[in-house]
């Protein structure tokens, strides 16, 4: 329903759009330092093209699930759209802005966008300027519908989450890393700065999900040490491997599939640091979760059993056997109650195993983490 003649004035029809667009586009941050990622995207694209020609598609990675879908920002900009169509979608989406991060979506979708082009188009009342995009406008409509109607998490819509200074790919089946969890990486940084010996050791992130903590740690280790990231979920293994590859950390981080400590055979008592954000929500709390979490994120990564502490307790015992003397651990928990219980458990049920066991609060002042060291 776009009249080719007698089109209402573009700037009159979207006056706020005109100003909004220019401000928005000026805010575009420089593209992430992901030249490598683009190469990967390139390879994946090629594979896809092949797969459409000759079945069956070769799997991208050795694991079983279908090949890794690319997040929007890494997709090839193979679509074109007119400014008019884009603006039409934008104002439609905006009218449903309840949970909106529309600008971020635009940021990821538009490719090599030249803000002056958009300004000129608006100024000259010329909405037929073509811009290239990483998604079809129809797909944008359906993505936004999913966001609004199904409460699909924004991060799954765009396929990534900006976390610390990283951009991590995520998709259904993998927990979206939370801002609080970034504190674990800071805690590791503190531990390393106090004991440089830890820097050269082996670090383990159990239940790595998207690989967030493992990558964060690998980056602060710099040229030293190495990281093992484990997960039970094949999807998580795939996503974590993909993220590790994006940041060119394949030599530094080994992603291993398996339940908790199982993939760590052979390194018992040699681990310099053990960290984890295990599922910790009590089972009966799952049904009451926010729609984005409860309906879309993997239960495997959230449900911690009746008290929410099944996995945490398992990890505490594991830390005692895995860590080398002086080794560091940090676990995320559900809050004060779990923290207190775990500190008490470590001191009384595993006497002599740990020292300097403490709780650390998150941004909101909730006691969130339990940290400590293996006794020397």
């Amino acid at each position: 329903m776009k009249p080719t003649t007698l089109r209402p004035s573009f700037t009159r029809a979207w006056p706020c759009m005109a100003s909004n667009f220019s401000t928005f586009f000026f805010q575009l941050p420089p593209p992430p330092p992901l030249a490598h990622a683009r190469n990967i995207a390139h390879q994946v694209r090629h594979r896809r093209i092949h797969s459409s020609l000759s079945a069956p598609p070769p799997p991208l990675l050795a694991s079983s699930p279908p090949s890794q879908p690319l997040p929007l920002f890494l997709r090839p900009p193979k679509y074109t759209t007119t400014v008019l169509d884009l603006l039409e979608w934008h104002s439609w989406a905006k009218s449903h802005r309840r949970l909106c991060r529309l600008n971020w979506l635009m940021e990821d979708v538009l490719h090599g966008f030249d803000p002056s082009l958009m300004r000129k188009a608006v100024a000259r009342d010329d909405p037929d300027v073509i811009i290239s995009s990483r998604a079809d406008v129809q797909e944008l409509y359906s993505l936004w519908k999913q966001r609004m109607e199904e409460r699909r998490p924004f991060q799954y819509i765009v396929g990534c989450e900006h976390w610390r200074d990283l951009i991590l790919c995520v998709r259904e089946g993998v927990l979206i890393p939370r801002p609080e969890t970034a504190i674990i990486v800071d805690l590791v940084g503190d531990a390393i700065s106090k004991d440089e010996g830890l820097r050269e050791g082996l670090w383990v992130d159990l239940g790595t999900g998207s690989g967030a903590i493992a990558i964060g740690i690998a980056k602060i280790l710099g040229n030293y040490g190495s990281v093992i990231a484990t997960d039970l979920s094949p999807v998580a293994i795939q996503v974590a491997s993909f993220n590790v590859e994006i940041y060119s950390l394949e030599d530094k981080i080994e992603v291993r599939e398996g339940s908790w400590l199982e993939p760590l055979k052979g390194v018992e008592g040699k681990v310099a640091g053990l960290v984890s954000n295990p599922p910790y929500i009590p089972s009966d709390g799952i049904s009451g979760l926010q729609a984005e979490v409860g309906r879309h994120e993997p239960r495997l990564a959230l449900d911690g059993g009746a008290e929410g502490m099944d996995d945490l307790l398992h990890l505490c015992n594991g830390a005692a056997s895995m860590l080398k003397p002086g080794g560091f651990f940090a676990f995320e928990t559900n809050g004060e109650k779990q923290c207190k219980f775990l500190v008490d458990y470590m001191q009384n049920q595993l006497p002599g195993s740990f020292c300097n066991v403490n709780t650390v609060s998150d941004f909101a002042g909730i006691q969130r983490f339990v940290i400590g060291f293996r006794n020397r």
């Binding site: 706020c16 900006h162 609080e180 970034a182 926010q290 979490v293």
Partner: protein, 422 residues
């Protein structure tokens, strides 16, 4: 520029034809409703400080000569010290360091002295050849050249002796805030913000939006940006102050002209080291929507508020895609503000004369008026008016104002240089 320094200036400089050239210069289309300084006082050739060739008054030359010979004595003294075998290593290295600082000035002084000897020689020759017209002509020509060169060297030396602001080379933080005038002020704040954005793009500087608080009509209640590049602060520092706008607001039905105001602050960029920021002085509050947090919640809202406990200064940044980015931006702004605070503290310690000069950082000073019905922009400090308001907002002719302000700053500095005791 204060009254004192202006009259002082007048006594120091001699008349030059520059100002008339400026008045009628069609390129910048500038006019002077009120000449900034009496016509006979100095030259203003083409708004560009590097092209200035003021004619030095005997007073100024005398003051400068005193400074120069002081430098020469000091340099000779240090050289002597270094050559003495019994100098201790600390004495030696201290002297060496000071010598290095003086080296540039000394090179210029030596050049100047050579030139002056040449001039003396030429003058003697003229006296000896009063009869020989050909010879006299040649010598006069050479003398003119030499005098011109002497002037150039003196100018360079003068500049090197003037106090320099180390912050000039830095990038800066731009803060624009809508003042009186409600929505209209917010809309103009947006115009001004974009003016600096376009100007920065033209200069090849990096313009990064830090934070924008929009008004109901999508104007900017507050907006800030980090502008990075070499010499950004030196160029933009005089933009701090109140910018007044007179126009018919889009919200005004009856067509009445309103006056509103927008305040602009330009701060030099600084880092944690510049302001000796210590972690324990900071309280960092990070907001997420309430509730249990952690795995329970998935929101994309984020905000960071950093409080600098000793000064009570607070900076909040929200809605970056990660808390990390929020925090990095908030720290950048905090450092710039702390640095500015420190600088203004030092500023207050200096003489009153200095605080009267432009660039004193007084944010409440009304510095410029943008009158849309008349299509003009007037800078009240240098008294310049341009009749191309649209070009101005496109960032096209901002340089004309900036150059005039820089020139005036330089002249103020010369005035206070010669008024202070050598």
């Amino acid at each position: 520029m204060g009254r004192n320094s202006r009259s002082l200036w007048r006594t120091l400089m001699w008349a030059a034809p520059g100002i008339d050239a400026l008045r009628t210069n069609p390129r910048v289309g500038a006019s002077f409703p009120r000449p900034p300084v009496a016509k006979a006082s100095f030259s203003l050739p083409r708004f560009c400080s590097t092209e200035v060739e003021p004619h030095f008054s005997p007073d100024l030359i005398k003051i400068m000569e005193q400074r120069l010979s002081a430098i020469e004595h000091r340099s000779a003294f240090l050289q002597n010290l270094i050559n003495q075998p019994e100098a201790s290593p600390t004495e030696y290295s201290r002297a060496n360091k000071e010598l290095r600082k003086l080296r540039d000035s000394m090179e210029l002084i030596n050049e100047l002295r050579t030139k002056q000897k040449e001039i003396d020689g030429l003058k003697t020759m003229m006296d000896e050849n009063v009869e020989d017209r050909d010879m006299l002509g040649m010598v006069t020509e050479e003398l003119d050249e030499a005098v011109k060169e002497e002037k150039r060297l003196q100018q360079l030396l003068l500049q090197s002796l003037l106090p320099r602001d180390d912050a000039d080379e830095r990038g800066s933080i731009l803060e624009v805030r809508a003042g009186t005038g409600g929505e209209e002020a917010s809309l103009f704040a947006m115009d001004i913000f974009k003016m600096y954005e376009r100007y920065s793009q033209k200069k090849g500087w990096k313009f990064e939006v830090v934070d924008i608080t929009e008004s109901d009509l999508r104007g900017y209640k507050e907006a800030s940006a980090a502008i990075s590049g070499i010499g950004v602060y030196g160029k933009l520092k005089f933009e701090s102050g109140v910018h007044r706008v007179q126009r018919v607001p889009v919200t005004e039905k009856s067509g009445r002209v309103h006056t509103s105001a927008v305040s602009v602050a330009i701060l030099p960029q600084a880092n944690e080291v510049d302001v000796q920021l210590r972690n324990e002085d900071l309280r960092i509050d990070t907001y997420r929507s309430g509730g249990s947090g952690g795995q329970h919640a998935n929101t994309t809202n984020s905000a960071v508020r950093i409080t600098h406990i000793p000064s009570g200064m607070v900076v909040s940044i929200q809605d970056e895609r990660s808390q990390h980015m929020n925090k990095a931006k908030a720290l950048k702004v905090l450092c710039a503000r702390l640095y500015e605070l420190e600088r203004s503290r030092m500023h207050l310690d200096r003489s009153k004369l200095r605080s009267e000069q432009i660039g004193s950082g007084d944010r409440s000073e009304r510095i410029r008026t943008y009158n849309f019905p008349q299509g003009r922009v007037t800078d009240h400090r240098v008294g310049i008016t341009h009749h191309a308001i649209d070009d101005m907002l496109q960032g096209e002719i901002l340089d004309a104002f900036i150059d005039a302000l820089l020139l005036q700053q330089e002249m103020d500095a010369i005035a206070s240089f010669s008024s202070s005791d050598p």
